[in-house]
């Protein structure tokens, strides 16, 4: 990670409010954030502190009430819906706690979908989907429907889908929230390999073991950053030990 380089993602004075007057809720309240290329950033905090809202704002899924967000230098907060969608398609990959896979599509078809939306040929999309499924260790599950996969396998398909269009940044919202310990370990290893490959990651999590694998950890409370800790980073090969998981 190089601190002097231009950040991939930059937010300044970011706010998201719901309601008004006495019922005003400050879900995100004046956040400044820089995420450098190749960095893995973990955001922690109690339920309802605004972590997921922040992630949605950073990925262009939701619009801020105030402040600015730049992704690769482009202002997200000033983009129209269509431009935002195109940006999400090409530059952002999402991983959700609830996986959000298409139930009627196989693992491979789910991974192909962003590429087909991006106009890639079915053949090229299928080839890349197979490569990505191999990368996440699911070569033999390519033709399985999500219902036939375990939670961990579904989340790995979701990660493969997030990587489909080679995004600048992957935003993961509680990626291990629905997983058991074994599946969590699998995910840790996957994120580790992504980190090693230079993929920029922002992971929102409750789980201190996941946060411990990041380069930087930010704690949130009541919509604002409460604390920021620079972790070891680059601890390849010892993630599971650090996280206290059996491996």
């Amino acid at each position: 990670m190089n601190d002097t380089s231009e950040p991939v993602l930059r937010a300044r004075g970011l706010c998201k409010f719901y309601g008004k007057d006495e019922s005003l809720v400050r879900a995100v309240d004046g956040i400044d954030l820089d995420v450098a290329a190749g960095e893995t950033l973990a955001v922690m905090g109690p339920s309802g502190c605004g972590k997921s809202t922040l992630l949605h704002l950073l990925g262009g899924l939701d619009r801020p009430s105030a402040g600015e967000i730049r992704l690769a230098g482009e202002r997200l907060d000033q983009m129209g819906e269509r431009a935002l969608a195109r940006l999400r398609r090409s530059a952002v990959g999402f991983v959700f706690q609830a996986f959000h896979l298409m139930d009627e599509l196989t693992a491979a078809e789910n991974v192909e979908l962003p590429m087909l939306l991006d106009g890639r040929s079915p053949r090229a999309a299928r080839r890349r989907a197979q490569d990505l499924l191999t990368q996440v260790g699911l070569t033999d599950r390519a033709t399985f429907l999500p219902a036939a996969l375990s939670g961990g396998q579904r989340q790995r398909v979701a990660v493969a889908r997030a990587l489909a269009n080679e995004p600048l940044i992957v935003l993961a919202d509680e990626p291990t929230g629905n997983l058991d310990s074994a599946a969590t370990l699998e995910m840790l290893r996957l994120f580790e390999s992504l980190h090693a490959a230079g993929q920029t990651l922002v992971i929102v999590t409750h789980d201190a073991r996941i946060a411990a694998t990041a380069d930087r950890l930010i704690s949130m409370r009541d919509g604002a950053f409460a604390d920021e800790t620079r972790l070891t980073g680059g601890n390849t090969g010892r993630l599971a030990d650090l996280a206290g998981l059996d491996g």
């Binding site: 997921s52 809202t53 949605h56 899924l61 939701d62 619009r63 819906e81 269509r82 969608a85 195109r86 999400r88 398609r89 090409s90 999402f94 959700f96 706690q97 609830a98 959000h100 896979l101 298409m102 139930d103 009627e104 599509l105 078809e109 192909e112 979908l113 962003p114 087909l116 939306l117 991006d118 106009g119 079915p122 999309a125 429907l145 219902a147 889908r161 269009n165």
Partner: protein, 610 residues
Amino acid sequence: MGQILLVGRLASRDLRRRPAQTLLLLLVITAAMATLTLGLVLHGVTSKPYQQTRVATAGPDVVASSVGFTGQSNRSSAAASFTALADAPGVIAHSGPYPVAWPVLRADGITADAMAEGRDPARAPVDQPEVIQGTWVRGDGVVMERAFAAALGVHVGDHVTLDGRRFPVIGIAVTAAIPVFSQVCFYGGCSGPPGKPLSFDTGLVWVTQATAHSLASPGNPLTYYLNLRLSDPAAAPAFAAEHQPPPGPGPAPLTAWQSLQDAAGTLVAQEQQVLVPASWLLALLAVASVAVVAGGRMAEQEKRVGLLKAAGGTPPLAAAVLLAEHLVIAIVAAGAGLAAGWLAAPLLTSPGASLVGSPSAPPLTWPNIVLVTAVAITVAGASTLVPALRAARISTVAALAGTARPPRRRQWLIKFSARLPVPLLLGLRLVTRQPRRFLLSTASFTVTATTIVAVLIYHATINTDARLSGPFAGAPDPGNARVSEVLLVITIVMIILAAANAIFTTWATVLDARRFSAIVRAIGATPQQMFAGLVAAQLLPALIGAVLGIPAGEALYAAVQNGGLHGSPPAWWLLAMIAAILLTVTVLTAIPARLGGRVPVAEILQAEFA
């Protein structure tokens, strides 16, 4: 008892929670039931006007004509048979025989065949036409039958020509002795010069006997009409049958008043011929509507069913609530449809200008009430049964988790759609997820297109008929105008119902596709692509339905017409119909699709997980 109360309470609360949807469903079923009621109650409604006309004109019980008796010897034979008929047992009075000439009438540029009956200025004891306007026959004046005059646009004071001779129109009258216009030739027959094709739209005029004689020629001789009054009018058919000459070529020369009364019902019978199949088509549309709404509600109501079951509701209870909601709507719609059909019947059963008086409200018999109610309940029951059974069967946990209705998968469609542009890819995949809704939607569009095509064929047939008749087209047939009006109303009702169906289907698809839409938007589909996908998902069944409607409309017209002339609408009519259906669907889809697209992706994804 408690359970019935609970079902009633849950059903009524749910209906009140969705007033727009409930009202639309009510309208859809009511329209179908009103049309069915109309089709059922029209039978025999013109008998009263005919009876009123019969009384006002001292109408005959039997009419004898000499049409078909050609040649001198035959005419002598007809005269002899008329004398015998006038003296036959049971005959208490008669008028005539009156000479009838068959000239060509021209009025205001329209040429029509006419039946010119020669009458005395004095009042006849049997069949004295009721003068509605002007005066009865005298001098060189012509009195025209009211419906014939209306079809030609002729009024008292105008002039017409009979075989080229100019006559003033001095009166307008009605009679019960000759079938209503344009059925004049269908009982008793018509005549004309040899070699000239006979028009079926011959109209009646009255002239003096001297004028009638002057209009005859050796090539177009007079025929004679004799009006008989019997001591027992009810026995008129038996009398006519008894005195009918042996079967031979030409029409039967004796006509009982009951046959003339039936002829008066022809206009209404034509309308009935259209209304009955239309009501069944509308009922099919109603089935599609209710099925889509019930299915769509299931998608919305999974959690409600889960909660009901979790709170101790049995599977039959969950099914009963859904069934009860639609059965209540069906019963209310049956009542409203019966009332609407009964009230609308007089509008369709105007006896036409050939008769005086107006029809009474048609009889609403118990069998009709039971039939309409049963059809309404069947419509609602059949279309709600599948979702109701599904509600009963789904697992409580799955319903609460919102995973009770996994979308369908069609491997080949998914593979095929990958090769298509993004909107079509999304549209096809949406279609694939709900094949039952796709079939219902296709059926709805097919029914609508079938009706429109049948109507287009009807108009093409009228045009073809007019073209073939050329200068002998005659006066416009009032039956055609009335059937056209009925068809127009049915088509409008059907289009409204199909539009309601399209809105139901799109709305249900938008609701079902919320998660699908949120995910594809999260991974980069633009709102426009998603919108185009939803439109494509609706256009696909619309296109298939419109195309299937063409042969189906041909078959429907052939079945209703039961033989006879069958015109072909120009290709551009059919193409315009397909284009209009697709355009309408696009517009109707736009509203729910846009509203669905406004919900932020993050909100839907959060809600999905919550």
